[in-house]
Structures are given as C-alpha cells and as structure tokens.
Symmetry: C2
Subunit: 507 residues, 2 copies
Amino acid sequence: MGSLESDFLTMSKSNNNSKEFNPLDPEEFREKAHKAVDFIADYYKNIENYPVLSQVQPGYLRNRIPETPPDAPESFDTILRDVQNDIIPGMTHWLSPNFFAFFPATVSSAAFVGDMLSNCFNAVGFNWLASPAATELEMVVMDWLATMLQLPKSFKFSGSGGGVLQSTTSEAVLCTLIAARDRALKEIGVQHVGKLVVYGSDQTHSTFMKVCKIAGIHPENIRSIPTILENDFSLSPKLLRKVVEADVAQGLVPLYLCATVGTTSTTAIDPIKHLADVAADYRIWVHVDAAYGGSACICPEYRHFLDGVERVDSLSLSPHKWLLTYLDCCCLWTKNPNLIINSLSTNPEYLKNKINESNDSVVSYKDWQVGTGRKFKSLRLWLVLRSYGVTNLRNHIRTDIQMAVTFERLVRSDPRFEIVVPRRFALVCFRLKQFNGFDSAYTELLNKRLLDRVNSTGRVYMTHTIVGGVYLLRFAVGATLTRDHHVVSAWELIRETTDALVKECYA
Amino acid sequence: MGSLESDFLTMSKSNNNSKEFNPLDPEEFREKAHKAVDFIADYYKNIENYPVLSQVQPGYLRNRIPETPPDAPESFDTILRDVQNDIIPGMTHWLSPNFFAFFPATVSSAAFVGDMLSNCFNAVGFNWLASPAATELEMVVMDWLATMLQLPKSFKFSGSGGGVLQSTTSEAVLCTLIAARDRALKEIGVQHVGKLVVYGSDQTHSTFMKVCKIAGIHPENIRSIPTILENDFSLSPKLLRKVVEADVAQGLVPLYLCATVGTTSTTAIDPIKHLADVAADYRIWVHVDAAYGGSACICPEYRHFLDGVERVDSLSLSPHKWLLTYLDCCCLWTKNPNLIINSLSTNPEYLKNKINESNDSVVSYKDWQVGTGRKFKSLRLWLVLRSYGVTNLRNHIRTDIQMAVTFERLVRSDPRFEIVVPRRFALVCFRLKQFNGFDSAYTELLNKRLLDRVNSTGRVYMTHTIVGGVYLLRFAVGATLTRDHHVVSAWELIRETTDALVKECYA
C-alpha cells in the first residue's frame, strides 16, 4: 500500500495552506504571552491610579464595540490597546489595595503561574486515566489543606473520606445536598420528596436557597431560622431543635443543615459542635460553609471556630477568598464520598478503561461534581502552598486581621461611629450612630449617603448590608496589595466625608 | 485626631515585617510569569516527545510527594523542576498532535493570553456594578457568536433573548431544565413533580441523566429513547411522539427534550426541526446540545445541522471543544432569560446597588447560573474571535474535517476495516471487520487488542465506544497542533499493528 500512502502524503502537502493558520505556534505564543505578562505586571504596579469602583454607565461598552465580529485577524497590540481604553474603565478593580467591598478575592504570583501551567496542559481530568497527575495531585493537595486545618482523618483520602475542588460554594452545597437527598429518598421513597426539610439561618448565604430549589426541595420546606444581634447573628442550636421538632411533629423529614463559619453579612459563626448535637438526633446531614472564615482556621488561634467539625458530614472553604488562589477555587471535603458518587456517577462506554474498571482506589472526579469535564485546578493551590509555605500563609491571615483591628480602633476613636457587631476576622461592621434629634430612618439615610460619597470618589470601595433591621457599612480588609497606610487613608476619607455630611445636617 | 493617626501610622510601620511577604510584588510576578511563559512555549515545542497517553500506574504521584505541605517557601525553579519530573509523566497530553481520543480540547495563543487577562483583573462579576466590563463584554461576545451561527434575533440581547457563559454543558442543561421545571410546577403544583418527564435518546450525553436527577426529575421519568444504526443513531421524531403520547395517556407531563447536534459516541445529529414539531404539540422545552457539532455551524455549509433552531428554547455549544478557547467555556443561549432568572435569582442586601435596582436592562449574570461568583470569562472568547477573525475560524473547522476525510479514505483503502457510521464532522468511527471464520465476540476482542496496542505505544491515543451493540474505534481529529502527517502516521501505526495482530490470529 506504499503508493497509496505517498498519494495521501502528496495530497497532504499540497493541502498545506493550512500551515498559514497555526493558533498554537510556540514562538508566536511566547511573544504574545510575554507581552501579556508585562501588561499585567504594569497593571498591578499602577493599579492605584484607577478608580476602585468603575464610574461608567450601563451600556458604555456595547456602544464602543462593533455589533459583529471581525472577518479578518486583528493584532494583539490593537486588542491590548482596547483592553486599556475600553475594558479597564469598566472594571471595578477587585485587586486594588483600596478595595474593601464584599470579601476580597485574593491572588498571588504563585497562583497566577499555577493557572498558566494548568492551562498549559489543558487536560480534561474527568477520570484518572484522562490525566493521572491531575487526579492524584488534587487528592494530595486536598489532604494537605485538610492537615493545615487539623481536619480529622475521616475527611482525608489518607483516612476514609476525601476532598475535591469545586468552582463555587454553591456547587459544593449542591453536590452534598443531592447526596443527602438521595440517601433519604432511598429510605422514604422518591414520591415523598415533599417531606424533606433543610435548615439554615437568616444569615446563611443567599445561594443556599437557590441550590435547595435546584435540588427540588420544596420552597416551603427551606427553613431560614432567625438570628439576633444579641447572639451576634449566629444560629441558635436551641432554636434549631425547636424548628426541627415542629417539622418532625408534622410528619416532615429533616434532611440537611448548612452551618456557616463567617457569614457574608457580618462573619457570624454558627456553633458547629452544638448544632451537630441536634443534627445527630435527627440524622440531619450537616454541611459547614466556611467559604471565608475557614481559611483563618489554618492558624491555631482561630482553629476553635471549627470545633465539632469531626461530627459533621461535609465542609467547604474557598481559597479564592483568602488563600491567594485567584478565582475560582472552592475546596469540599466529605466523610461520605460514596454517597456523592452514588448520586452523581455516570459510566458511559466511551469513558471506560481498564484501570478505572479494575482499581477501586482510583478516583473519578467527574463523579464528585455537576459537570463531566474539569480543569487541572489543583496546580494553583499546590503552587500557593509550596511557594509560600504554611508559616507565611498563617502570617498573611494574621496581618490582614491586624489591619482590620487597626481600622476597628480608628472607628472606635471617633464617637460619631459605632461597631455594630464584634469583629471576628478581617471584616469591620460599623455605622454612624443615631445622632441626637434624628430618627433611625434618617440615620440609615446618612449612612447610605456616606457610603455613596465615599465610593463615588473612586478612592475607596466598600459595601453595606442590613442585619437585624440595622443598615451598616462593611469594611473588609484583605485585598492582596492592601497595607496599613491604605486602611488609614480609607479611614481619613470616611472621617472627612462624615465631617462634611454632619456639617450639612446641622446647616 | 492627628496624633491618633500618627500613632497608628507608627504602629503600622513597626508592624511592617509584613512587607517581607508580598505575594503580588509586580517585579516578582513579572519574573515568575515570564519564566512560566518560556516553560510552556518549550512544552508546546517538545510536546511530541512525550507519550500521548500517560504510562504511569495508580498511586505514582502520591508516592513521590510529601504527605504534608512545607512550612517554608520553596523556589519556583524547584517547583518547575517537579512539574517536569513528577507531573509531566502523569499527564495524558491532550494538546499533543497525536491525541485522537474523546473530542479534542482545543486551544490558541489568543485564548491563553485572554485567560491571563481575565486572571489579571480577578473580577467577581456577579452583577453589573461588580465589573461593568465583564457583564457587557459577555453580552457582546454572546451576540457575536450568535451572529456567526446565524441564530435568530430571539436568542440575542439585540433581540429578545440572550446568552451566558457556563462552565460545562451540564450546567447549561441544568439551568434550562430548572427553568422549564419551575414553569411547569407553577401550573401543575409542586407536589406533582413526579409527573414530569424528560426526553433524550440513548445517544444523549451521559450527563443528561445526572443533571435530571440533580433537578429532582424522578429517575423512572427520564426517557432514553433508543436509536438504531440504520438511522445513524439519530433520534426519530416519530418515536419521540409515540413515547410522549404514551406518557400523556398515563397522565404524565412532558417537560424537556435534549436534542443533540453531534453526539459524543458517533457525532449523530438529531433532526431539530422535526423534533421541535413534536415538542410544540406538547409544550416541551427543547434544548439543543451542540457542544461539539455546533462549532462547525459557523461554516455556511454545515449550518443546516441547526435548521429549526428558531423553534427551540435554548442551545448550548462548547468553544473549548472546537473553537480554540481552552477549558472551560460553554455558551448557552435562550429565548427565555426571564424563566431562568425566575428560578435562579437571589437578591441579598449586600449585593444590592442603585444601578441594578433602577435599571431593568442591566444583566446580573449570577441569576443565569448555579453559583454566585464568576470569572471574567468572555475575554478569552473575545480574544479568539478578534485575533483570528471569522474567516480563519471557519477554515480551521474545515481543515480539521479535511484531515478526518483523509483518515476515512485511508481506512476505506484497507479491506480489513470498515467505517461503521457515516462521518459528519472530524470524528471517524471504524473497526476491524468480522473476519471469515471468527464470531462477533472475537471481532470485538481483536478491536480491543488493536486499541490497547496502539495506545500503549504512547505514539497515538484514540478511544472506543459501543453503539447498537457494536464495539468501534473512535478517531477524533482536531487537536490544535495536528497536521496531515500526524493523521497519516497514526494510520500507519494502526495498519502495522493490525498486520501483526492478524498474523497472530492465523498463526
């Protein structure tokens, strides 16, 4: 068949105008990527020059960009110029050292290059054979972080559990909720899904409600148990028991509790141990959402916030919030991987291979998540843990908290302000007090005005929330580039803005 | 309060051993990232030197890596050396030009730098204000790609619909299924969820079953309608109608149909138009999963595979498969964004802002997906579309298909082989024929052996499937670096391995 082949080879060669289009030419790759590195390093260097909160109006970008894609190629220089001129003005600069909104999304050189390496391979690690290193490194890194958090063996691969990287807390909650749901439905019958009840507090992340609805929990069976200021907005085990008992009395079936270590509004902490006591009496699956607060628990002095974790079923924590990994990176550990796998496994013929079939110890991460495909995400976390080491990461948490302490002291030093809830981590919840002669509605209005004015300067970005009927300002320290002087300057701006506001009030 | 402040500043300065730890120092970032660029460019240059399919055994990596994370920092050079020595041997090289397994996961310099820029900002674009550019660019790019696919206005923001970037097809199906489910439950009552029935074929992606179960569709109500070889494994509208009628006769409620343009096993194509006819009679939500095949439809000569799309409710397509974007990137368009938003929206106080409250035209993408947080993903797709232009992207699709045609002709030129199903795109499904005197079980065994031997050389990686009871080999062309001579060499290897196998059979 020699001649046939040479025919094909000839055909192939004559066909090689395809050579003109090589989107992964290594030298062109090198050139573009080096250029991007410098662009990004310069952006980080100059980031303080941009207003933190974008000042554009809705529609600004759609008006600047053609309605249809180009037919012909455009140069990287042209595109970079457009990023500078069109995109950057529309960015809210999450990495600015003057970003104190929401929770920070932290980053590092190590995670950046970790993600570059992950992209480099572009491996789709749905099962072991699809890239053994991707599966095994994820197992190693999840055990590493479990060790840093002093999690019991029951959550580790080296014990009887295991961990997986998800995109978001929402996905982590969804996967564990489905596992709990299916275990319960096996016992009570799928037709009784309407009896299943799930529990959180009124401070539980808003995504909990969404995820429960996705999982088919009937909306009227999603309990949002009230919390109070006097209890620092943490979920009361006593109240939980009451609510659960009432449900059981009605013939309902308690299913799942989402407890939080560091709520989004005020970093409230639910008492895991006592909640787990209640849950145990009713075989409720307990999940701990430690998306933000969990990272602090790598420091021995904060580990007590996880006390009782040995009695829960699953725990999630998002290193993209406080452990410098860039988005998105959410760690989920569970004692019951098999329950998740029972619910989420698929076994199509085209993914079968001898090693998966013959080796029980081989993990197929596709069965631990919603999707089938998945990136080699653990590289980022591995790079962070190795590049900085546990000691530096602990100090990084402590430094952030120390800066929040500084801000808290500054607020306390001004009698016009009050700290609304105790500071636990690096978030300070404060507000202008109710002034003599003004009602609470006016106080809220003043605080709103203060927030608006501060944010509209572009020099600082912070956000608000309402808890227990109180409108308060949130000052979340921890953007990777933030240093003490940024915190002090932010306070200066808040103080000066307040001076002007107060003057107007009494004018 | 001047003195107070200077106290704090002094405290800050004395506290500044924190300066020693700066994980985002721009110059250190620059140095590390440049090093990573060269590492990756060299990897791409030398990628053919590695066995395509990893040759390691389970547990290989866990035995090489310490059980606990380091306390002290390790250098990037050390880590890169470990990537080379420990990680790369455990990689199945998806970007190798000799990777013909599954479907390729395609990449490009443009998407790589696009993702670098996305990471650069690390913006969490849950709503418009959190980064206006992230929301608006996604809207623009989704409309661009819709234009390239000649989708009707009803799927575009410039019309009455819209698009969103999801991580995976699973998530796209989940979000639309929930929207359809909740619309139906509103009419029939949540207690009747057990009546809802969903439809796919036995060739629909395995994740469909998983996603339906997540959404609480009762497993016995998930119809997997059989397909046959004679019909090229496409879903028969006639058969669909029969199944739906039977369900309706039983008092069940038809809900959702997942039709596929390019199934995973054999790239079969479900006839959208005729399926939509059936669906319309029963108000079934029709979703088109064009994860792989959809990309080809940017070429006018393949667009007919989407005929009838104007009558469906939603469509998803994964550019990470064939449009060079790196993982993960799945486009979802829908005519009914409001139905998705009704099901998935959350409105916590801490995310409220004046612009979202006052401007109906402002999109909050958090309400179009499972999670709350989301990366600035559209940059990657924008970079690809602009850097290459529509003409090049079309030619890229055509070149891949042309290489598959080459392979198909090579297979046909050898009388020992047969093409099992017609080639539609860049996947060739073939097998060794049943030889005289051997039964079908032995034929399957021979094909398995052929696959094993070819893959174990490390020179080529391809996979298998079973459809209609037939074990066949899948040869998927389209890894970004693949050129004609790789296809011809792969065939050479297959032919030579077959020579040896056949010799043994008759020995």
